[in-house]
Symmetry: C2
Subunit: 212 residues, 2 copies
DNA sequence: AAGTGTGAACCTCTTCACAGCA
DNA sequence: TGCTGTGAAGAGGTTCACACTT
């Protein structure tokens, strides 16, 4: 079963919303309800569920618990995956804290930095190591995913270390794009770009309004 | 001139890369060079430049400085736009610090929180205010864009405050999606979703490899 | 009547294939 | 020859329109 990238993203978001529903005692949900919670359309929700083979055919809406279970069977693998965060600045801390104590099959097992003040300390219960121990700890903790939150200029060095350690997936928050070899799945996310994009569309809209 | 969303994102990224080129004394760049720096194709780069009406027609590649100027004329507006950050946790600090001292037409003018320990302090040179002064300061500082980095459960409250203050664009890093009225351009970015997506594709690839 | 499931149309974005230029 | 510019094809994603179910 080959699922579209966008559907995967939405499934992750739906799942979180569905957990909230459960906490609020809501056991069934309509496609249009789930859509509204995501600034999305009911058709899109139904299409996504169709793609993963979920169906209800009752007028009560979708069973929340069953849907969570199915999404989890798709997104997670049984054993879970272990994650390392590279760079313990504010962003690294934010991500580590964010994950800590979340029900999730993704476990942040170690963090890394070069600053002696940070090395050896705990951040949200996770130990910070010297980056030169990266490969060693990746093997020891069976880490498959790396999140890069270090400064842009350290990106090339980190790329090398990550390749060498046999990491399988990378999420790069550095504003320096990195080229990885084909056996690493990798996503870039750049907060400056996101903000510049919002700014652009705000500008465009205000121009349009004036010209009407 | 109506430009595709994806092109806008890439232009923002190209511009940053081009500034780096300039700093390194590189005055001309080929489409395939720029592409390589972005895990992208030369055709895509040329297509983007075509869409914004940039052309070189020399064998020396594109003039870096001219291209930066054109991208800036497209992305920025002359006066710049002012930005507020809501939530001065680690993520809020990261974004504020990230922007500080960057050549950019986007200026973070104020930050907001509810924690009395944070209110009244400077973060990377920007003053943190009580959230109940949001509207007042938005007007005073002519702020058009809000970045939400607060905790998920505060999102609904903040949505209301933002609408009321007349904000035009929102970038929401909270894992709770928010519905805004149509006159606010708004983007959601969810770090957990990004990480779950990477994890999913890592898992899928490893399954595929085993089955070969 | 008020929901779900889905083929087909549509729109958006990327890539191919090739002409043109220095 | 080695680059650029671009029409046209292709891939990916969303929405329309409507049949079906309770």
């Amino acid at each position: 079963m080959k699922l579209p990238e966008k559907t995967i993203e939405r499934l992750s978001e739906y799942r979180r919303t569905l957990y909230n529903c459960l906490s609020n005692g809501k056991t069934h949900i309509y496609s249009h309800e789930l859509a509204n919670l995501h600034s999305n359309t009911a058709v899109q929700v139904r299409r996504d569920l169709m793609l993963i083979g979920f169906s209800s055919m009752t007028k009560k809406g979708y069973d929340v618990k069953e849907l969570i279970d199915l999404i989890s069977r798709i997104l997670d693998n049984k054993e879970g995956q272990n994650v390392a965060v590279l760079g313990m600045g504010n962003l690294g801390k934010a991500i580590t804290a964010y994950f800590n104590g979340k029900r999730s099959k993704l476990n942040i097992k170690a963090t890394f930095d070069i600053d002696p003040e940070k090395i050896g300390t705990l951040q949200s219960g996770v130990m910070c190591h010297n980056i030169d121990r990266f490969e060693e700890i990746v093997k020891q903790e069976n880490i498959t995913i790396a999140v890069i939150t270090a400064s842009p200029n350290s990106a090339p060095l980190l790329a090398e270390v990550i390749e060498k350690a046999g990491i399988k997936g990378v999420l790069n928050f550095t504003s320096t794009p990195i080229n990885f070899s084909d056996n690493i799945y990798h996503e870039e996310y750049d907060m400056i770009t996101s903000l510049e994009k919002v700014a652009y569309f705000v500008k465009e809209r205000s121009l349009k309004k004036k010209s009407v």
